[in-house]
Symmetry: C2
């Protein structure tokens, strides 16, 4: 049986999982795919730790060059994470005629434009299913299953940490800090959770999804990013009373000939499937012109789940290699109807707004007056509590308005002496 | 640019959609896939009807042999439906060295064992994404995206007609007959809706899903099938009060070394995503050992949605053909840990039960007494209404019990003089 040699750079959590599966399911897989995937060499800085998987001493190396320069190795799997030297390893491997599998979303989001171009130039492929949604086959589905489709939008719950925190707040009525601490205790959040809770990780994934759906490689700077650290339990509860859940969404959405790319807390109607995605799960809601509206849901992280995606990529590459194809990836189609990116100021949205005001007659009239000057109309309004001579919340849903008009109105309202705290505005998506 | 010639047999709704997309998106697709998909010949009994798609007169034929015997045609797409002569056309095409795309779930469910074996024997492939879940890439995901996984179970809402009817009953509090009539009026149900509402169509799809997940080709006779025509509005409403929705599920589930395959109305907890799948939508809830629990959701029917799947299959085949691969399909792995099929009598399940009894003291004691004799314990019980001297419903949830014990108990209870109508028992799946 033909053997495809694979070199693994990075023998951490996911790498160990992949090696273990390839070894435990050797015959299961070779029966399916008609060849053997052979992990010829494994490289890691740490080659001495116990990993509970049987690997021959001779397979190990401390020097990635031993893999990159090995002419018998057909595919390298990069699982070290970080930008450097992962980027250099991948570039070098492509230049040496190897195909690449990577789970490195930060790298591909930041340097993908260059790396994908290099791969194309060399007639090689970079596969990256594990980088978004772990074992959920979202990348394969967008690239192959929906190959004939044009896309209107993709809405993703793509960060398990943030979704866990928001779910805990909503389901258990706890504060952001308590939920974050629980996430840390359960291993769902890193010691420094900034990348996750401030939306950066979601934005990295959004870059890759936007590339797959619209053929555009946007930069991190192109994406409007707002994390969940400012989401209060009060707003989650008020939103719930109004029939919404608050989720951190990664959104890429075509509006006429413009594309919106943004990551922010979003009110989603409770009727919508996305609002039921709880805990560390991920979900992708895709609107396409032929296959309609689709949802893909599953665990967005985990050793075996990510390893499942890595092996799916390996199998795809081996099928191409088996047949002597050099570049099995389908090309990404550029949506030429998109003329430019729409900046956040230009988007139109419904909003949830909470004002903290003095409890006096005439307050609402003043606020509504300013909103009206900007052509903003109110869909509903509730004064939530009345505590004499204290600050009270006024919760409002407004009809479709331009972000910049709303921002201007909020700035003016913020200067009124009836306003006692910073107002909160959260976008609503009907999805 | 290399051209792959395709012959289409069956120029109805889906066929017209596929031809239209291939023509409208000719460059979009060839840019992606690196070759041209050329519909060389189209065969249909009716070649004169207007179809709103531009096809040259010379492409048409009334004789499928013209396609099957054309050595320049690499792939045939079978979209005529029905068993004969579709089966003969596909078999003939495989023998002539062609790969096949089919949307014909009834044919593949009934004759697939023979046809897939023939394809394997000839080193050719039958692709059938459109046959289950239309444009939802569930088959590709099971076959390729989850290639490294073993499966515990798949639960599918796979029949849009039945799901529409049950959703209407649940959301609009209408009877089965009213919902069915609405489905007919909207074009969601056929004049004779038997195949859909009696679970046959779901069973056909379950055969294909079981084959993909477990490598076993079961027969229609192996599947326990119960449709939705006996589901009453009362049961839907009582189930709802208890926190459940009733859905028609197609279930393939491994229990130790046995496999259960069944289609029946099922109570699903409202918390579960499957319970929120409404209207004509389909969903697949897949439990796998590496990638975890996944949901795939989308429209399960429709001209463009099915055509999207047909084109995805065509593209997969062309990628193999481009590379000179004769058989791009991955083999199906047989789950050797499954020793036999578990018949319905042997399954264990929680159940929802409704008894219609006289309204007298002691009724519950009698029923509970019989259940206890069979070791069946009651989780909750409610007497729903009290109308003096009338028949009243007693609604019960019972703990895990063996189907055959429950059936025996129900038979004995049915003979008690306190029972005034046939009792209803519906299985509960925690999923």
């Amino acid at each position: 049986m033909k053997k495809i040699n694979v070199g693994l750079i990075g023998f951490g959590n996911v790498g160990t999982g992949a090696v273990k599966i390839l070894s435990d399911r050797k015959h299961f897989l070779s029966d399916k795919i008609g060849l053997e995937i052979n992990i010829k060499k494994i490289c890691d800085k740490d080659i001495s730790s116990k990993r509970n998987v049987s690997v021959g001493r001779s397979q190990f190396s401390k020097d990635p060059k031993e893999i990159i320069n090995d002419p018998q190795i057909d595919i390298i799997v990069e699982l070290i994470g970080g930008i450097h030297p992962a980027k250099e390893y991948i570039a070098e491997a492509l230049k040496k005629g190897k195909n690449v599998v990577s789970a490195n979303k930060a790298l591909l989001a930041q340097e993908g434009r260059e790396l994908f171009a290099l791969a194309q130039d060399r007639g090689k492929s970079i596969y990256f299913e594990a980088s978004v949604g772990a074992g959920i086959p979202i990348i394969k589905s967008l690239r192959e299953g929906l190959v004939a489709n044009k896309f209107y939008s993709i809405f993703g719950i793509v960060n398990g940490t943030s979704n866990f925190i928001l779910s805990q707040m909503s389901n258990n009525n706890c504060t952001f800090n308590n939920a974050l601490n629980e996430a840390k205790a359960k291993g769902f959040a890193e010691k420094d959770p900034t990348l996750d809770i401030e939306g950066i990780d979601s934005a990295h994934k959004l870059i890759l999804l936007t590339y797959l759906c619209f053929g555009r490689f946007v930069s991190l700077e192109d994406i409007f990013i707002e994390g969940i650290s400012q989401v209060s339990l009060a707003d989650i509860n008020y939103a719930k009373e109004l029939g919404f859940e608050i989720k951190l969404l990664a959104i890429a959405k075509k509006q006429s000939d413009e594309l919106e790319v943004r990551v922010h807390p979003t009110l989603i109607p409770k009727m919508h499937l996305l609002s039921s995605v709880s805990g560390i799960f991920n979900a992708f809601y895709v609107s396409s012109d032929l296959a309609g509206n689709l949802l893909f849901y599953g665990p967005g992280a985990g050793q075996l789940s990510a390893a499942s995606a890595v092996i799916s990529d390996l199998v795809d590459l081996t099928q191409g290699l088996k047949a002597g194809m050099f570049r099995p990836t389908l090309n990404i189609a550029v949506d030429k109807s998109i003329k430019k990116l729409r900046r956040i100021n230009e988007i139109e949205s419904r909003y949830y707004i909470r004002f903290m005001t003095v409890d006096k007659p005439g307050v609402l009239a003043k606020i509504a007056g300013v909103l009206a000057k900007f052509g903003i109309s109110i869909a509903s309004v509730t004064q939530k509590e009345r505590r004499k001579a204290q600050v009270v919340p006024i919760v409002m849903i407004i009809h479709e308005a331009k972000e910049k008009d709303l921002r201007s109105a909020l700035e003016i309202i913020g200067r009124l002496d009836i306003i006692k705290e910073k107002s909160v505005a959260i976008r609503i998506e009907e999805v």
